[in-house]
Symmetry: C2
Subunit: 309 residues, 2 copies
């Protein structure tokens, strides 16, 4: 297969775009596309300060790399979750994140959940009904809280995460199977902020997972290969498998599933008549905006975990 741009040997073939590219042209194509998505969805400008949530995996490190290459002001945030899983998952992923930051003279903020809040994610999950079986709900809640706190305290305008198309399509698929209308209304490349709540953006949301893996590999980015040990057997992984099965038979289905959803939503498909944003107030404990009554979900979880049994 030959590169569509220069005719030399292609190394990446994207069936859904009918596009094969050589290494150099692929490494130029990915930032071009990223820039296109950033502009199309009005994610941020070069005058804004961006905080990239960095896990040490291929997506978030590639995102950081791309934003740097495109000339955006992007710093990293690594959140130490205290997950071991028999493979030293958290310490190892921190090493990858640190190494990437140092190699490019980038600024990386590190928050260790146990150091800061007195309990790691597995410990918090063990003491909380949200954590029954799997700490993912506790982990998501904690990460959202920490990311927003750091963004607010350090003056970042935008939080960027490395969610790729496979992630977004799987979440959408899950939300559709259960018709979770509130989540369907909020899902998208951009979640607008509010006073005290940073805008959230997903610049990689239109790249397939394998496209990001190819990018990281061809750019020589060193990243942690292992998935979070708690992800195994999760619903979202199951949904990814089903989507992969459909994608094999219909190349491009994942992308069209996601893009047509965005179109339908833009046309008002998911708007409830008289719909308005939820009322936000400031959590009396942490000061972050919340729509929950009283304290925010994170502070309620923390208060519970501190109550002696």
């Amino acid at each position: 297969m030959k590169c569509r741009k220069c005719g030399s040997k292609a190394v990446v073939n994207m069936r859904q775009h009918k596009l094969a590219l050589c290494k150099d042209d692929y490494l130029a194509w990915v930032p071009e596309q990223t820039e296109r998505f950033i502009l199309k969805y009005a994610m941020f400008t070069r005058g804004e300060k961006i905080l990239v949530a960095v896990s040490g995996g291929k997506d978030s490190l590639s995102l950081w790399d791309l934003l740097d290459r495109l000339g955006y002001h992007a710093d990293g945030l690594y959140i130490g979750l205290g997950i071991d899983g028999g493979i030293g998952y958290s310490p190892s992923s921190l090493q990858y994140a640190r190494h990437f930051a140092e190699s490019g003279g980038r600024t990386l903020h590190v928050v260790d959940v146990e150091g800061q809040y007195g309990a790691s994610i597995p410990m918090l999950a063990a003491g909380n009904h949200r954590g029954h079986g799997r700490p993912c709900a506790v982990c998501g809640l904690t990460k959202r809280h920490v990311m927003n706190r750091v963004a607010r305290d350090m003056g970042y305008d935008v939080l960027a995460t490395g969610h790729n198309l496979d992630d977004e399509a799987a979440v959408l698929f899950g939300n559709v199977l259960t018709w979770s209308t509130d989540f369907l209304r909020r899902q998208g490349p951009v979640l607008q902020g509010a006073p005290g709540l940073a805008r959230k953006v997903k610049p990689l949301c239109r790249f397939y997972e394998r496209e990001m893996a190819a990018y990281a590999m061809l750019r020589g980015i060193d990243y942690i290969y292992e998935e979070c040990p708690f992800a195994e057997g999760s619903t979202s992984i199951h949904h990814k498998e089903i989507l992969n099965q459909m994608e094999r038979e219909h190349p491009g289905m994942k992308l069209s599933f996601y893009l047509r959803f965005l179109e339908a939503r833009a046309q008002g498909l998911l708007a409830r008549p008289g719909d308005s944003s939820p009322d936000l107030h400031l959590c009396p404990a942490c000061g972050q905006p919340t729509s929950a009554p009283g304290s925010c979900s994170f502070c309620r979880m923390m208060a519970k975990s501190r109550t002696p049994a």
Copy 2:
């Protein structure tokens, strides 16, 4: 496993309802549930004349049987499509429909597409771009036209079809994967009529396919086992397989996928702001209401098939 109602040996186990029943209790439960759905979705009353679209398969014959048992005024309509597929599909299915009608002294209307319109479904499909590869689009269009014509000409208030939950969930799944918003808005147990357009209802839409197969078998209804030969390899069958795969892991997922969709729709999730029904006018050729400009889609297809090459 024991029958929940009487304690004797159960013959049907519905995991999603956590309900096992013996033959007699199952044969009482299905009409009870059918009546419940008819009332819940306000499908029709005992004062209305119902036309059941009968294919000779388990679902439509069971539906007819159930409406009879429940004391509704229901006659049958069989549409001869002229499909052979190496198994004499159409002649064989007509025999089952006729036998069922005669055994119960029921009224069955028969319309033969080739006799009435000069060409069978495979012949129409061969001469039409809709039929490329598969005659399903031509067949659906023709059946909708014929059903509505018979309902109108013979004074039926309602058209009832035997679509079961597996059918409805697969259609919904397909419409969601492509975000076909117009179809999503219209899908449901009841499609309201208009002057000249009969109301359409699906009283079996909450029964799993295997529940209807069990009902037909236990009632001793003789039906054609073969699927339409053109269905093999179709997208809807592929979607059914994917849903079956998910149902095996999460019993009840098909039902909750469908019911939560209906709830979300009832809450206005799928309404476009300022949405209104499409403008209907009468087709100058056949007199049926249509939203297409000029003649209706069926008459345009027929005009094309009559044009000499």
